[in-house]
């Protein structure tokens, strides 16, 4: 669906103090692959338009199309989507887009997902797809977040992990850990990756998504640990990449 279509916001749900999930029901949605994105376009009453790309958070099986948007304080589109847009309001949307940073059950595993902040969004789409398909493909998620309040989908991650054939979820908090926190509390480094990742000999399929510096470092460390660069797929959110 490369053409723009007008969609109304069906529901909005806060995820963290700075992020919200927005649900839409596009007509004739052709389905998508986990990891793909959509473009959205906003039009002001004076005709001004702005367009951005957002990763799809929902699994293809979920019916509605969900994106999770992190508010960038100096942004133009993300503050509107997170703070101002209300159910019934309209925007234009097109997609799904992208054929590289995608995963489906047939692609196999083991699966290693490494997320920095809201880089979790497309990876959550993959975990949701994996669950919806009832797939037992071994999966591990390593999520780096600033504080425990910044962890997207925290309850769902716990439920996924506890479920049958659930993924192993590892969270590291880089800015502040609550009292009694037993997980990691530092930025992702080579040693942490070595402890969490599947051994390179198992040839995991790796997906890394987050801010540029995070993705650069994680991908370089994975290669240094012996992972095949051809199995490491990356997607980056620059400070203005998602605006």
């Amino acid at each position: 669906m490369a053409v723009w279509q007008t969609v109304e916001l069906v529901a909005k749900q806060p995820e963290t103090p700075t992020a919200a999930t927005l649900r839409f029901s596009p007509d004739g949605w052709p389905g998508h692959r986990a990891g793909q994105h959509v473009d959205v376009r906003l039009t002001a009453d004076d005709g001004y338009q702005a367009q951005r790309s957002y990763s799809i958070a929902s699994a293809p099986d979920d019916g509605a199309l969900a994106i999770t948007v992190e508010r960038l304080d100096d942004g133009e589109v993300s503050p509107y989507l997170v703070d101002d847009m209300a159910p019934g309001d309209a925007l234009e949307l097109r997609g799904p887009i992208g054929g590289w940073f995608v995963w489906d059950v047939a692609d196999g595993g083991p699966l290693l997902l490494v997320a920095g902040g809201s880089g979790l969004v497309p990876l959550m789409g993959m975990l949701r797809r994996r669950r919806a398909a009832g797939a037992a493909v071994p999966a591990r998620l390593l999520l780096s977040a600033r504080t425990v309040q910044d962890v997207l989908y925290a309850d769902e991650l716990h439920a996924l992990e506890a479920g049958e054939d659930g993924p192993e979820v590892t969270i590291t908090l880089t800015r502040e850990a609550p009292p009694g926190w037993s997980g990691y509390d530092r930025r992702v480094d080579r040693e942490l990756l070595d402890a969490v990742a599947w051994p390179p000999a198992e040839r995991p399929r790796v997906y890394v998504c987050g801010p540029t510096a995070f993705v650069e470092k994680v991908a370089a460390d994975l290669v240094a640990l012996g992972h095949d660069p051809g199995l490491v797929r990356t997607e980056r959110f620059g400070p203005t990449g998602g605006g």
């Binding site: 002001a44 101002d84 887009i97 660069p229 990449g241």
Partner: protein, 202 residues
């Protein structure tokens, strides 16, 4: 008529100096976002070479030192990423593709840029000749950083920036058009930002 998104308005005043320079659907940024499909390759300069191969009378190759000895140009251009950011007045130093192709006899009408890491992108030959494309090793007066495509990347500023292949190692001249990496993964085969050719069927 597009729908009005109730309550949405422009946050930053339009800069008159930017008028006519920002293609439809783009917005101007001042930082330099990075996008790539996999880990950043790091090829040592003593192992680096640039190859000109394919439908050509005689293949050519340059070592890093030979490449750096070729006549260089410094150009200032606006660049446009398909993810909707544009960056104005970026300054690059490198070798014009015209210089690399000087004297080459070929029936080719297309080129494929080939890169470390396996990335490829395809372009019509006429879009990389006539002062429209460079193999750049300098950005803003400094050596080009690896995350932005160093030691050298293609610069084709009049097309979406994924055509400006990072970590370039050569050009393959072809008689048939051969879609590259993003071109096989949903993105437009040509990629003219002024016609908003972002994706297949645009």
């Amino acid at each position: 008529m597009p729908p009005i998104s109730r309550g949405f308005r422009r946050r930053h005043a339009a800069d008159p100096a930017q008028e006519g320079r920002v293609p439809p659907g783009q917005h101007v940024v001042t930082d330099f976002p990075v996008l790539s499909a996999g880990p950043t390759p790091h090829t040592p300069l003593d192992e680096w070479s640039f190859q000109l191969v394919g439908a050509i009378d005689a293949p050519r190759a340059w070592t890093w030192e030979e490449f750096r000895a070729l006549p260089a140009e410094t150009v200032t251009k606006d660049i446009h990423c398909v993810t909707s950011w544009s960056k104005l007045d970026t300054t690059w130093e490198g070798v014009s593709v015209d210089t690399l192709l000087d004297g080459v006899v070929t029936e080719a009408e297309y080129v494929v840029a080939v890169c470390d890491g396996g990335y490829e992108t395809n372009l019509p030959l006429e879009d990389v000749t006539g002062g429209k494309a460079w193999v750049a090793y300098g950005y803003d007066g400094e050596p080009l950083e690896a995350e932005h495509g160093g030691p050298a990347r293609l610069i084709v500023p009049h097309l979406y920036f994924w055509k400006s292949a990072k970590w370039i190692r050569g050009l393959v001249l072809t008689e048939e058009d051969q879609p590259g990496f993003w071109e096989q993964n949903g993105y437009h085969n040509y990629g003219d930002p002024w016609r908003e050719q972002r994706y297949w069927n645009d």
